[in-house]
Amino acid sequence: MSWQAWAAIAFWIAAWAVNGTVANRWGRRKWARIFVPALFGVTLLVLWQGLVKGLNVPSVILPAPTQIAARFADSVPLLWGDFSQTILKGALGGYVIGCGAAVLTAIAVDRSPFLQRGLLPVGNFFAALPIVGVAPILVMWFGFDWQSKAAVVVVMVFFPVLVNMVAGLAATDPLQRDLMKTYSASYRDSLLRLRLPAAMPFLFNGLKIATTLALIGAIVAEFFGSPTRGMGFRISTAVGQLDMALVWSEIVVAALAGSGFYGLMALIEKTVTFWHPSQRG
């Protein structure tokens, strides 16, 4: 191990100490909530850089963060093109269709306990079909372009959202249901005024899980056939060209997009379910 590796490890220990103090002293402050995870992330990068350089790992195996950053910087247009193909068209399209269909299905089966009891176990079974097996089939059915990626995403997000939404629609407490009964409320009234609002925290739970699934689904589907752009295409072909810095740049884009997407849903959740104890803070 050379000096870079030791320096990185020293940095790690120091950062850990700093984070410990900051978290304990100013843990409730807004800046600390950003500073601590940020420093942790920087530490991971420093450690990575130090170990790659220090242990002389070939860059075709694992490039250093600096190399990735450089590659990222000079392939922004390429990355953007891949991003819009995979995320904006495939993932987002599939996400909207899949989540929408799941919500509607949940509402449809909500009236029939019989259907629910039958659909959910079967649904869980189909949700367990591994995506890597389903993706080639959907590519065969829906063609090479983003439509097949969206289809994979639909399949992936449908059941988690459905299960959460069904649970959410059942999540009203007996008192609330009795209350609606004392008003002799119609099905529509109790759906619109009680069950839908009460289901929102559950729905968002599902929607948040679905964000990362959508991303992964769209990227993975591209491994099984794609036009010559897209993040999954780039990752699988760049490996063949030993351009690992580009592969990691795409992974960075995926992680950023995923975290951003997740964060966005969390934000919407905050405004929609402002009333829920977990959001009142």
């Binding site: 992330g41 991971l44 195996i61 694992l62 629910q116 097996g133 080639p136 089939i137 993975v220 592969v247």
Partner: protein
């Protein structure tokens, strides 16, 4: 038990829809073939042909069942064509990866619950880690580990663990924080140490959460294993089976392997469900 009838009804509906879809999706090929041969197909012929294609676009349910049956019962279990053999290979890796992932998730969760610094730093990155497509990093992990001499089961198990630690982590952070203020205050009035609070309060009250996340985790581990089996020198396991089926256009083989995987997942989840019942019952938590 009372779910059986509804499940059967739903399955029946799916099978009917499935046959319809098979007819519809496979018809194009049958017509194409007829056109190339210069013949006409009547409806009866069409139905017969679409249900019996050797490489259908969508195999009919009975074809998949046939593939499953042949894979499970039609071969000796040591045969490389046996789904039991490949399922077992996948199961082994899944269990190992699941164990490692669960342990990692548990340890991280305990750390997060006890250290503010860990809580604040690890969680956002754990979420970010799950946005990385596994299929993209799996080959790299396999290559990197192979270069340090790790081959076979361990790299695959690590990828399985990577997928399964997350649900366990999230569930256990919730679970270990499940004790309410009253219960924690009670422990404080006894001046209980952190370890005592962990073992006597936090861990027992997290059990329902643990089992819920184990169910998600074991399914995730299975997916991880299958993903890892694709690039790992496509040798054994359901993943390899999926891949080779795909490579040779053997749609029926793909579907059979797919269903085998889903059945395996269902069995694993059911096994955890049983463990849950037993444990919670022994702890007096199941009513």
């Amino acid at each position: 038990m009372r779910n059986i009838l509804p499940v059967l009804v739903v399955c029946l509906v799916i099978v009917v829809l499935w046959y319809g879809a098979a007819l519809w999706l496979n018809a194009a090929w049958v017509y194409d073939q007829a056109a190339r041969a210069g013949t006409q197909v009547g409806f009866g012929q069409l139905v017969h042909d679409t249900m019996t294609l050797p490489r259908p676009k969508l195999p009919a349910p009975h074809q998949v069942l046939g593939g499953l049956w042949d894979g499970i019962f039609g071969q000796s279990v040591t045969s490389k064509k046996s789904l039991v053999y490949h399922g077992w290979m996948t199961l082994e890796v899944t269990m190992l990866g699941f164990a490692v992932g669960t342990l990692a998730g548990l340890i991280l969760a305990i750390g997060i619950v006890h250290s503010r610094a860990m809580d604040m730093s690890v969680m956002p990155w754990a979420i970010a880690s799950q946005t990385i497509p596994v299929l993209a990093i799996a080959p790299m992990v396999i290559v990197v580990l192979a270069s340090v001499g790790l081959k076979g089961v361990i790299p695959k198990a690590l990828i399985a663990a990577y997928l399964s630690f997350f649900p366990v982590l999230v569930g256990m952070v919730k679970g270990l924080r499940a004790p309410d203020g009253l219960q924690l205050d009670l422990m404080r009035t006894y001046n209980a140490s952190r370890t005592q609070t962990l073992t006597m309060l936090r861990l027992p009250s997290s059990l329902p959460y643990l089992f819920a996340s184990l169910k998600v985790g074991v399914a995730a581990a299975l997916v991880g294993t299958i993903v890892a089996e694709l690039p790992a020198g496509a040798s054994v396991g359901l993943g390899a089976r999926l891949l080779s089926g795909s490579y040779y256009g053997q749609t029926i083989q793909i579907w059979a392997a797919l269903f085998m995987a889903a059945i395996l997942a269902a069995l694993l989840v059911a096994a955890i469900g049983i463990a849950e019942k037993v444990v919670l019952k022994r702890m007096g938590m199941a009513r």
